[in-house]
């Protein structure tokens, strides 16, 4: 099957074109409807932040886009063609996914784990750049000093960054990050979002599930707010991150203050004053 037809390599994307798209997607988990008629497109050159309370369907949407969970209704288009029309190998050349939990079953060296990210490009001309790409992403994710350590000996934050490096090494036009900042310290949280920005600047489309609305406000071109399986807002951070919308969605009073220096939105939960 692998040899029965030639691998369709990705074409360079036009700035602003839709790379991956959900159209009227519905999904169920255990009989429960978790996605309800969701439309979402990720364009080349943008960072799209997916936010919302626990159980809103953010990860499920990402899983549907990644092809892990089959939509019960609607369709997913990758590079303009139905998700199902691509082989596993072809999808792997187009989208990379960073899962919430990065785990490796055996004590592989970090170098080897990151190199696994290059495997979709085996037997293509791009594999000539493997060493350079791996060197680059190790540096980007700030894990150069861990290169020859065993993955299983790393801390949670270090594992997350190595996982990120592996995903970056895949060099796909679509990058999906599911809570990439969850186990990271402040410096590395900023680093991850800066990487996302730089990938978008290079013309890739980045979808990132975030819980930190401040990060979403600071780094995303577009914020999509989800609640109970639906998209309830979609637009630039300044328009979407409003006190009324966020307070309703999170069922907690939230205030949004313009940053005194940059004017960007600062999102804070209202706390009882001491």
């Amino acid at each position: 099957m692998r040899w029965s037809r030639t691998l369709r390599l990705p074409l360079p994307a036009v700035e602003g074109s839709v790379l991956i798209e959900a159209r009227g997607v519905c999904a169920e988990l255990g009989g429960q409807r978790v996605l309800d008629n969701v439309d979402l497109g990720v364009c080349a050159g943008e960072v799209l932040a997916l936010v919302g309370p626990n159980g809103a369907g953010k990860s499920t949407l990402l899983n549907v886009l990644a092809g892990d969970v089959r939509a019960t209704g609607g369709s997913v288009l990758v590079a303009g063609a139905a998700l199902e029309s691509w082989t596993h190998a072809e999808l792997a050349l187009r989208r990379a996914v960073l899962p919430q939990q990065v785990a490796v079953a055996f004590p592989f060296l970090v170098d080897h784990v990151v190199r696994m990210g290059r495997s979709p490009w085996r037997r293509t001309r791009a594999s000539e750049d493997d060493d350079e790409v791996v060197g680059d992403v190790l540096e980007q994710a700030d894990v150069v000093h861990l290169t020859w350590r065993q993955f299983t000996s790393l801390s949670g934050g270090e594992r997350a960054r190595v996982g990120l490096a592996r995903v970056l090494a895949q060099r796909t036009q679509i990058l999906m990050l599911d809570e990439p900042t969850a186990s990271l310290d402040v410096r590395h949280q900023e680093l991850v979002l800066q990487i996302a920005r730089s990938r978008a600047a290079d013309g890739d489309g980045v979808v990132v599930v975030l819980h930190d609305l401040g990060l979403a406000g600071a780094y995303a071109d577009r914020v999509v707010v989800m609640d109970q399986g639906r998209v309830v807002a979609d637009g630039p951070p300044r328009e979407v991150l409003t006190p009324s919308l966020l307070s309703a969605v999170y069922q907690h009073d939230i205030e949004v203050i313009p940053h005194p220096r940059t004017g960007g939105p600062l999102v804070l939960p209202v706390r009882p004053s001491a």
Partner: protein, 372 residues
Amino acid sequence: MTTLAPLKQERREAPQIPRKTASAQRPLRGRLSSAGLLAGLTAALVVSVVLAAGTGAYMVTPAEVLGSIAHQIGLEMGPLPQGMGNAVLWEIRFPRVMLAVIVGVSLACAGATMQGAFSNPLAEPGVVGVSSGAMLGAVMQIVLGFFFAGIWTITIAAFFGGLLAVLAVYAVSRSDGRTEVVTVVLTGIAVNALAGAVIGFLSYFSTDAQLRSITFWMLGSLAQASWLKVAIVLPGAILGLALANAYAHQLDLLSLGERSASHLGVNVERLRLAMMMTVAVLTAAAVAVSGIVMFVGLVIPHLVRMVAGPSHRLLLPAASLAGATILVLADLAGRTIAAPAEIPLGVLTSLIGSPFFLWQLRRTRARQGGWA
């Protein structure tokens, strides 16, 4: 479609952030080169084969063993064994040593493959019941006496028994893209018990002669080696070995978990099925001639992984060579320690393997913070 150059070749501007300046030199110590390791293991195998072939009630010197092989393939080199030496070598010792090699390769490779496919260091054909399943297939063939593929009938029967068992274990113990250690071991108990019960039932209805071969299988032994048996299992072992090695790279990716492997282009469903077949083929090859030899598939890949690292492209061939060597030596020990009596091979490997298994179990539990 035309091939395209990589999409992005320009070096990206890394985000400006102060970076640790720790060196990233690959450590020189600790990891042998792959070629060196494989050469060393091959040498060890050759030495143990020559040693095992020469040792027994009728001693033949290593030089004579080599000379005998040389003469057989038409080279007039080296000394020939005296008296009955040549006959002993070619009719008794060589088939037995050859079988030990095949069984060792099959078991070690099956163990490594299974651990990779289950992403679980405790998966092993003997422990999880694949060997019992294979034996059940073989015993059914003996007692019920059906034939459909000549001398290969028994291997094929063992294959289907093993395949059924491995699929059952896989289906039951799988959860969230991984197999839990506890479930694998517990499922193994159930499969072993079921196979044991059916085998017991079948042996109740078997003739004396059939009963003798069944008992021999339960213990695991190479005492009834012959060239015919070599011919029976060699094709399966070669097929399984080739399959496992063809999928080595994908097995590496699978250790990232099923989802991530699939994101990297692995067709996980197909890989799984291929690996289950591989494990069944290899286990059937081993079980059809030697009965149940436990723990080889557990201990060998584990030890090799400590030296060679977990990458299956090196692990699979290295574990196969090490498994062959260990089994040749274990069989040699089994037939010489208590000579003229013989300690069955399976008894010997279990004696060494089960404490190791317990230690592994403890270690895994400690790492996972206990299991409820």
